[in-house]
């Protein structure tokens, strides 16, 4: 989002309180949504629940195209549309809700750095496994991504998305990696997160922050999504404090869903 648009949005956001009819859009849950999008969406939902802000989840086949930045998820609040966790956190901050106000400067720097770590390693690894691993792409990603559409549009869109993701992987230097190396990177990322979490309930103090929401979104989705192999989930499961962290957040904030 451009700077001018952001400033305007902050001003507009500050003007009104959070309404009751806020909605969150994501692709179809059963048939269409992929691992990476599901993780991002769950992270935003967790964050909003942690802030105590009500939001309804709507599943739409064209959610990706409705989104202002092309990324999932996006929220529709009042007459504004905001996508991705970063801008959504800023948006809620403008409305006076924030989880990271109690942090000092060093902690805030660490929080931002660890959020970038999750985006840089976990999200990229998820995208790689979905689109650059041939078996997963053929069996899961391409069929699911294009399920709402009929032939030949489904083929065109699926291959276009795959080509786009592969180009991005090449640009950031992941194009030459093997699947094994990607799993190693995921392990390293989980190890860093596990190290940082230690024996605490949340990453900072006793209260959750947007980092907790983001980590929960990704790890919970990895643990509960069926892929062609269970390697990814196994790598995450080997860190017990991360497992109990996910369970704790699920029980605290998603109680009604876990029944």
């Amino acid at each position: 989002m451009s700077l001018a648009a952001e400033a305007f949005m902050s001003q507009m956001a500050a003007a009104e309180p959070w309404p009751e009819n806020a909605t969150l859009y994501q692709p179809l849950k059963e048939d269409q949504i992929l691992l990476s999008d599901c993780a991002s969406s769950l992270a935003v939902q967790a964050y909003l629940r942690m802030c105590g802000l009500p939001v309804q989840v709507f599943c739409r086949a064209n959610a990706e195209y409705m989104s202002p930045s092309g990324k999932i998820p996006f929220i529709h609040v009042g007459n504004q549309v905001v996508s991705e966790l970063g801008p959504i956190v800023q948006f809620t901050k403008a409305k006076g809700h924030s989880l990271s106000d109690g942090l000092d400067d060093v902690q805030r720097a660490e929080m931002k750095a660890y959020m970038e770590l999750v985006n840089n390693m976990l999200l990229t690894a998820e995208l790689y496994i979905q689109w650059c691993d041939d078996s997963t792409a053929t069996e899961i990603s391409r069929p699911r991504y294009s399920s709402p559409y009929s032939w030949p549009l489904n083929k065109i869109l699926a291959y276009q998305k795959q080509w786009e993701v592969r180009r991005k992987m090449n640009a950031i230097g992941w194009g030459g990696k093997t699947l094994e190396q990607v799993y190693e990177d995921v392990s390293q990322c989980c190890q860093a997160l596990s190290q940082r979490l230690g024996t605490q309930s949340y990453f900072f103090n006793k209260q959750p922050t947007e980092l907790d929401a983001l980590v929960f979104g990704h790890l919970f989705t990895i643990l509960t999504t069926r892929l062609t192999s269970t390697e990814l989930a196994e790598r995450v499961k080997s860190y017990s404090n991360l497992l109990s962290f996910c369970r704790r957040i699920e029980q605290t904030y998603f109680e009604d869903k876990s029944s």
């Binding site: 700077l3 931002k112 970038e116 990322c189 190890q191 860093a192 940082r196």
Partner: protein, 280 residues
């Protein structure tokens, strides 16, 4: 990290051992320790490296390769001067296209172009990243205690080119210079690991009396003059030979004929005299 047998890297300039970020990181990393991820330092290193790759690197790419003035005046010129003929004609342009492509893919915008709006966004992210690094460093000498680690190498590799290179559009440098602890950090590492280059710059600076900001120009002026003279000679020679092959030859012939004619006239004149005498 084991010391490599042979390391190919870009040359240095502006008081740095190398102008490329990746080369700097490797050069500094060689003597340093890499903390294991299982330690808090290792985990934090990984996190801050991700932060820099996401927020600082796009701005670096933009300021060196995409921003028009910087690219034309400094980056392209430097690379062309440090490449052999004939690579210097097309390789910098190709590198620039690759960097633009990379930036487009990083930002997820296929129609990205250089512009004020993009510049503001990228520099804002970079400034925030530098502020966060500064907050994390605090008043310590290095990021983790008193001995440097791989994170210090990484930060140095990214910040040193910004600090040292004099670009026409130097907003990033201004912001970095306002963060004293980061500036001292970079100079510290430079003095510790590359004292030759640091001293080299100190020697060069009194000599730089010319108004040109790039230090390379002062040394290249005699070569340039010689090259200009040679190219003028070549051009003149080409023109002369073309003229010889088409025009000059005829001019020379006319000159010979002109030389020969007066004797003919004189001959005719003397013939006439002889004839006259013969007749008379």
């Amino acid at each position: 990290m084991a010391a490599p047998d042979e390391l190919f890297c870009w040359e240095g300039d502006w008081g740095l051992p190398s102008v490329s970020t990746d080369c700097l990181v490797v050069l500094v990393s060689v003597p340093l320790s890499v903390p294991a991820v299982v330690t808090p330092e290792g985990a934090d290193s990984l996190a801050f490296i991700s932060l820099m790759e996401e927020k600082l690197m796009p701005a670096l790419i933009y300021t060196f390769w995409i921003e028009p003035k910087n690219y034309v005046d400094v980056t392209r010129r430097w690379h062309a001067e440090h490449m052999p003929f004939p690579l210097n004609f097309f390789l910098p342009g190709r590198m620039q296209r690759q960097q633009l492509e990379k930036l487009r893919l990083l930002r997820g915008d296929e129609r990205l172009e250089a512009g004020e709006e993009l510049e503001k966004e990228l520099y804002r992210d970079a400034a925030e990243c530098m502020n966060l690094l500064s907050q994390r460093l605090g008043s310590h000498k290095f990021f983790f205690g008193d001995s440097p680690s791989s994170l210090d190498a990484y930060v140095f590799g990214h910040l040193a080119p910004i600090l040292k290179c004099k670009l026409p559009n130097g907003k990033l440098q201004q912001h970095l210079k306002s963060l004293d602890n980061l500036t001292n950090f970079c100079t510290n590492i430079l003095q510790l690991y590359f004292p030759k280059d640091g001293r080299g710059e100190a020697h060069n600076s009194p000599r730089k009396t010319s108004p040109h900001s790039e230090g390379g120009d002062f040394d290249h002026v005699p070569n340039k003059r010689r090259k200009q003279f040679l190219s003028a000679l070549v051009a003149l020679g080409a023109m002369l030979s073309y003229a010889l092959l088409t025009g000059m030859v005829s001019i020379q012939h006319a000159h010979h004929e002109a030389l020969e004619e007066p004797p003919d006239l004189r001959d005719i004149g003397s013939h006439h005299d002889h004839e006259d005498e013969g007749d008379g």
